[in-house]
Symmetry: C2
Subunit: 229 residues, 2 copies
């Protein structure tokens, strides 16, 4: 799942306390100075985080790296938690969509491969962002909202599979998506096992087999679909 | 999975730099002063971590809470990373085994329920330990070793299911166990969704259905088992 903020355009939104220009201004002028400053600052947050880690992340360091006056950063983002929350908000502003490969197995494998690539990238930006979410309540809320948004966007994978007749109507999309993706995060983030190139496809296949066996259908009516095949 | 150090006896092992008594001494006298001091100190680490969090965790605070001289703590454990690593080592010293309920579904559900209980306990000791593992390299190695040990101990669940004829011989125990348990950790630790009382059994059932469909058998010979049933 692309939780990587690297794809972020950082254009559409700005922090609510965006100073004297009015809260709506950044939305009207996404390419203007407000948007540009935000992009510079959030890029600097990510670079500092990936290279130096949360403990070294400071408003002053971010301002210096971004080439922006520190007072601007303090006024708009207040503290490190505010910066991180905005990194997650900006990451959710992209137009990311899961790949459409033509099959459920293919779509889930592509999703897992994207996650594995992001989680093993150097510098370890996504891992650093996940780690930061254990440090700051604001970052935790930010990453939670981003995850929920990503899983919602992935529900189309299940809808397409239902349309193709690969899955019964009434399949619980979120449960299937969590089952398909959780092993990749579990291995790489919690268990810290070395990346296994087969893991993305294998975890996808497990979820597909479970789905075909009716694991994600709670309505007995829908389950009749499976028994009749 | 019981990664909770609350069940720790803390008796069988001591840090390698255990001072002038010789490295083997604590193993011979687990109930002696060395073992007692270790237990007091590690209990204090867990209490401080759960109540105050990693940022407030200090050698001095731990020593004061444990009622142990700070020089003793510095000498034996060196720093916060050393203390955390030893908490994980002590947690692995217990005689924890997964419940034997008589069925694969029952065993995996019991395992997930234990994990969900530990992850949602107050004070949040297990969550605090996971968070700490993102802060300290020593803690990260400690939690990694503890996870691997726990998954090894759980392989008996799969062996029993194979014996009962619930699973084909050649079922990859670790992959099945990760598939069964990952959704609980993913939801509670990464996605931070509120605990769902149905999740432990549901995640277990998904893995059982996938296993019955041959998801964890890589050898085509073994898979003949499934086709013949």
């Amino acid at each position: 799942m692309a939780t990587s903020p690297e794809q972020t355009t950082a254009a559409g939104r700005a922090p609510e306390d965006s100073g004297g220009e009015g809260a709506a201004a950044p939305r009207r002028r996404p390419g203007g100075r407000t948007g540009r400053v935000r992009r510079q600052v959030l890029d600097a947050v990510q670079a500092e985080l990936a290279e130096r880690g949360y403990d070294e992340l400071t408003i002053d360091g971010v301002a210096a790296r971004a080439g922006v006056h520190r007072a601007t950063v303090y006024r708009r983002w207040r503290d490190v938690g505010g910066l991180l929350a905005d990194v997650f908000a900006a990451a959710g502003d992209d137009d990311w969509r899961p790949a459409d490969t033509g099959s459920l197995q293919g779509d889930l494998t592509a999703l897992n491969e994207e996650s594995q690539t992001a989680l093993t990238a150097r510098p370890p930006l996504v891992s650093a962002l996940i780690a930061a979410s254990f440090r700051s309540e604001e970052a935790a809320r930010g990453v939670q909202a981003l995850w929920e948004d990503r899983y919602l966007r992935c529900e189309v994978i299940v809808a397409r599979a239902v349309e193709r007749g690969e899955l019964p109507p009434g399949t619980d999309a979120r449960r299937l998506l969590v089952a398909a993706t959780a092993p990749v995060y579990h291995e790489l983030v919690l268990l810290r096992t070395p990346p296994d190139p087969d893991l993305p496809a294998r975890a996808a296949r497990t979820a597909v087999l479970a789905a075909s066996a009716g694991a994600f259908v709670s309505d007995p009516e829908d389950d009749a679909w499976r028994r009749c095949r």
